[in-house]
């Protein structure tokens, strides 16, 4: 217990006490130095000059299209800040400001609370002030102590194109947001932070570095000019972001899809660069910059078309007949199909006690694989897909990167579902599903769902015959190659020929995608996907080639009806736009 006796040599007492005394003496010397020796210097500084630190905001980087045209810009606005500790009469001040600017004083009050950082730090109470409003405030400057204004680079969306889902938006950092922020970097209230889309994905790249200006202030809080003692830190603007978009094409497609619900994606299969990305309905990209009224907001929220949903990355759809190439290629590669083999389509196919129908009621008559692809005969595919097991079919789907992320450089995307036997077992039980499900799946119906972006990847792999670079929006984004060595060159070539037939043959379903430009060859496939929400979704996927330049297009019109009628003509417009004039080809293909 407390038995250990204490025998401390006196030397240790002296050493320990000595250390304490030394520490205390060093403090005394330091305070003497400041308070007595340098008294005059600091006295002057405190009496005449007080230093105020003013943050200098750095503008975010611009977002550009592939030819350097500006999509997202900044424009200077004025913000009103208040230093709470210097304000003499808050309610009176707010009243004056309210009269000068027309902003309700309750809004000022709530902003004051929202952005309050401390009694000596400026907190923002109003933004987006015009020069008029400012000059009226300036007239009352003598009554308004502690009120200052500064320039603020606000985000400005050029209005040339919407591309709202792609660009995303910036959000203002406020107290609640800051608490839950898990992004690295030093954010203050009122700062802008990329919250969706490219603005979020490339936040680090776009965001600048703030500067600080130290100004001297007199006893009344009036600014007396820059402080000599403390160096200004110059803000560093953010880096510009060059995207691969083509503004005129994007613009044309946005107008073309106005009033519809759907997606059009145009890409360059050789590089994986996206030329146009349209998801409709969309919203104006400056919706989130803070000038939106509650009414406008309500309109967006209550819209049944879900304009906030990014259909390109998060819309999950049955791909319909556009998937037939997968079944065909898997069978061709395995040698389980004879190209001259004829199968008769009379409009109905019976398996067990279930009936499966072809989209053409009378039936297509007797046809081979080439004709079945061109005319999208269902009965033909019902018959041949039974030569595969569900798992073989699922593996074939995965070779085209379905069921996995495209890894495009956007903030998030959905994965989709490729069902295999273990998935079906989980869903329906070991004996709860049958070959009939496979028949359905082979036509891109049922449990299989894909995102439009995955469809772009799919068609790019077909266009590049197995070696397609990953999709990307920003030039210079690191892209890996998605490469498939699963199919032989012969199979690829044959598939391409079949898909060209879809466009060129007399009965081809994709005829209307052809703008009839000399030298342009198009390969494609239409799809008409049944869904529980009414009319079928119309699909067209395809690629065109002229003078060794490749472009792939996918079109999805929700509840649009037949793919050949609703989707293919839009793809035709894209091909026409890109390949009909030399100027447009130059815009799209030189980088």
């Amino acid at each position: 217990m407390l038995k250990a006796a204490n025998l401390i040599p006196q030397k240790r007492l002296l050493v320990v006490s000595g250390v304490v005394i030394m520490l205390m003496l060093s403090l005394v010397i330091r305070f003497f130095y400041l308070q007595v020796y340098f008294y005059e210097k600091y006295k002057q500084k405190a009496e005449v000059n007080r230093i105020r630190a003013i943050p200098l905001n750095a503008p975010r980087g611009l977002i550009l299209d592939r030819n350097g045209e500006i999509i997202v810009d900044n424009y200077p606005t004025y913000v009103l800040t208040v230093i709470p500790g210097e304000m003499v009469n808050k309610s009176k001040n707010f009243q004056i400001i309210s009269q000068c600017t027309g902003i309700d004083s309750t809004i000022l009050e709530s902003n004051y609370k929202k952005y309050y950082r401390g009694r000596f730090l400026p907190s923002r109470i109003a933004k987006d002030l015009t020069f008029d409003q400012l000059s009226r405030i300036e007239e009352h400057k003598s009554e308004l102590t502690g009120i200052n204004y500064s320039q603020f680079p606000e985000r400005y969306y050029s209005g040339k194109i919407n591309a709202s889902h792609l660009l995303g938006y910036v959000k203002e950092v406020d107290q609640t947001l800051l608490k839950n922020l898990d992004v690295e970097g030093n954010y203050l209230y009122g700062d802008l932070i990329g919250w969706r889309g490219l603005e979020k994905k490339y936040e680090k790249h776009l965001r600048g570095e703030k500067g600080v200006l130290f100004v001297d202030v007199d006893a009344f809080g009036r600014e007396m000019g820059h402080s000599i003692d403390y160096q200004k830190v110059i803000p560093v603007p953010g880096n510009d972001l060059q995207t691969s978009l083509l503004i005129p094409l994007q613009k044309m497609l946005e107008e073309l899809l106005e009033g519809k619900q759907g997606v059009v994606l145009v890409s360059s299969p050789k590089t994986g660069a996206m030329l146009a990305m349209v998801s409709k309905p969309d919203y104006s990209p400056d919706l989130f910059t803070g000038t939106t009224t509650i009414e406008e907001w309500q309109n967006i929220i209550s819209n049944t078309g879900k304009p906030l949903l990014n259909r390109m990355t998060h819309g999950l759809y049955p791909p319909g007949s556009t998937l037939k190439m997968i079944t065909a290629m898997a069978l061709m590669e395995k040698g389980k199909i004879n190209y001259s083999e004829l199968i008769n389509c009379n409009g109905v196919y019976e398996l067990g006690n279930r009936q499966f129908r072809c989209w053409k009621e009378g039936g297509h008559g007797s046809m081979n694989l080439e004709q079945a692809v061109a005319q999208s005969c269902n009965i033909y595919f019902y018959t041949i897909v039974q030569r595969l097991t569900l798992d073989e079919w699922a593996v074939a789907c995965k070779t085209f990167a379905f069921g996995e992320l495209t890894e495009i450089d956007l903030s998030s995307e959905a994965k989709g579902i490729v069902p295999n036997s273990s998935y079906m077992n989980k869903l329906y039980g070991r004996w709860g599903w049958s070959k009939g499900h496979l028949l359905n799946l082979s036509l891109g119906q049922g449990e299989l769902v894909v995102t439009p972006l995955q469809m772009v990847q799919y068609i790019n792999i077909l266009a590049m015959k197995g070696k397609a670079p990953r999709l990307h929006v920003v030039e210079g984004a690191i892209t890996k190659e998605k490469s498939i060595n699963y199919y032989s060159q012969k199979t690829w070539n044959r598939m391409e020929k079949f898909m060209q037939n879809v466009i060129t043959s007399v009965y081809g379903t994709g005829k209307r995608a052809n703008p009839n430009i000399t030298g342009l060859t198009i390969a494609g496939k239409t799809g008409t996907a049944q869904n529980p929400h009414g009319e079928p979704h119309a699909w067209f996927v395809g690629y065109g080639e002229k003078n060794n330049e490749l472009v792939s297009v996918i079109v999805l019109i929700e509840n649009g009806g037949h793919g050949g009628e609703a989707a293919a003509p839009i793809a035709g417009r894209v091909f026409k736009f890109l390949f009909s004039t030399k100027e447009n080809m130059k815009l799209a293909f030189t980088s």
Binding site: M1, I8, R30, Q35, K45, K179, A219
Partner: protein, 410 residues
């Protein structure tokens, strides 16, 4: 019972308590000055809140003073265990001010268990070092005490609270020295830390290597030991930039701001600028109570707790600073003196440890306001505003008075 209490009180070193009370009064005067001109109601003002905090502090003082020394000795390991759990609890809750320092106890104010960890660790350490008749000539004898210290310090460092973590780690050095550890061994404890820190600057690393060589040469341990110590440290130093490179950018930044908050020009550097201006402008006699322009235009941040010395410096001048330093020095030197006189080793070690805590707080707090060291959020004992720390300070005072009485049967 009450008679017994008075008897014990009379025999204790009352001057220690007198100083604590004087310092508390000084703190209240300054808080009142800071509050003057504030429109808010009484219970939002730090002056009245601090007065309110004195009530629990008084009772805590009585309890800590009256508990017999052998009871403290017997239960301190249990208390240490509970303390470890307590400092882990804030990690389960939400972050407050983006740290895990506080426990929300459903009252209008939170509770900071790390304040209590400081003196609990010291007492636990004192028990360990006094119970075991350690052969202090051996380096291994210093290892377990270091582990006792490192566990809570590591947890608190993660809160993150570098200031408190340092305060918890520091007492182990004087305490080991006090009971006869060789200064060379203490050097060995500190060496790896310095190796890591200096490794980022080749010149300081080279100088440090020479110092290390010199010290090892002077201490003359056996050859294998000296060589392994030297090269172990060099290796650690060379390794640390590599490990640093493996960290993510934001992790590096977090660590850098921990050590040097001045990286953020709107934050700490600004505070130091303002604090120095305020103190310098105070001069010899200060501007007078409530007259500090820097204070009253609210240029100074956290002036009620961490930067309260800036207010003292501005309004009461150099004289007041000297008086405060004399009071603190008396308190500390008196405690060390008691540690020298006292007969049992446990009490002696407790006294040394507690005086180290107070010294570290005082030095860091004063030094930071004048820019001698980077900003560390450490309050000034008795003077700064803050409930947990006031309570903790009075408990430490009580324990100092308690264990310094001649060990009879109190």
């Amino acid at each position: 019972m009450i008679q017994l209490f008075f008897l014990k009180f009379k025999e204790s070193t009352i001057s220690i308590l007198t100083i604590a009370l004087l310092l508390t009064c000084a703190g209240l005067i300054i808080l009142k000055s800071i509050n003057s001109g504030l429109e808010s109601n009484y219970f939002q003002q730090s002056f009245y809140k601090q007065l309110l905090f004195l009530i629990p502090a008084f009772f805590a003082f009585l309890v800590a003073f009256f508990i017999p020394r052998h009871t403290i000795h017997r239960y301190i390991y249990g208390v240490y265990g509970c303390m470890i759990i307590l400092i882990l609890i804030p990690f389960l809750g939400d972050q407050i001010a983006s740290t895990y320092r506080w426990i929300d106890i459903g009252l209008p104010f939170g509770f900071q268990p790390s304040e209590f960890a400081k003196w609990i660790v010291v007492i636990a350490l004192a028990r360990y070092l006094s119970d075991h008749n350690l052969e202090m000539n051996h380096f291994t004898a210093s290892l377990l005490p270091i582990i006792i210290v490192l566990i809570p310090a590591g947890i608190i460092l993660n809160q993150p609270d570098l200031g408190s973590a340092i305060i918890i780690m520091i007492p182990v050095l004087p305490m080991l020295y006090w009971i006869g550890a060789r200064p060379f061994h203490l050097f060995l404890i500190v060496a790896p830390l310095i190796s890591i820190l200096t490794a980022f600057h080749w010149l300081s690393f080279a100088i440090w290597a020479f110092i290390m060589m010199f010290v090892i040469f002077k201490a003359k341990p056996n050859l294998i030991f000296s060589v392994s110590t030297f090269f172990g440290n060099i290796f650690l130093g060379l390794l640390s930039p590599v490990l640093w490179g493996l960290l993510q950018g934001y992790q590096q930044k977090r660590i850098l701001t921990l050590f040097n908050p001045e990286i953020d020009p709107l934050g700490a550097a600004y505070q130091i600028i303002q604090s120095k201006t305020a103190i310098g402008a105070g001069g010899l006699f200060g501007k007078g109570w409530g007259q500090g322009t820097q204070t009253h235009l609210k240029f100074l941040p956290v002036q009620e707790s961490d930067f309260i010395i800036s207010v003292v410096g501005e309004e009461f001048g150099f004289i007041a600073i000297i008086i405060l330093l004399i009071l603190f020095s008396y308190f500390i030197l008196r405690t060390i003196r008691l540690a020298f006189i006292i007969d049992d080793r446990f009490s002696s070690l407790v006294l040394v440890g507690l005086s180290t805590i107070i010294t570290a707080h005082v030095f860091v707090n004063f030094a930071m306001t004048v820019g001698m060291i980077p900003v560390k959020g450490l309050p000034l004992p008795f003077v700064s505003y803050g409930g947990s720390f006031l309570l903790s300070s009075y408990i430490m005072t009580a324990i100092i008075m308690n264990v310094s009485i001649d060990p009879k049967d109190y």
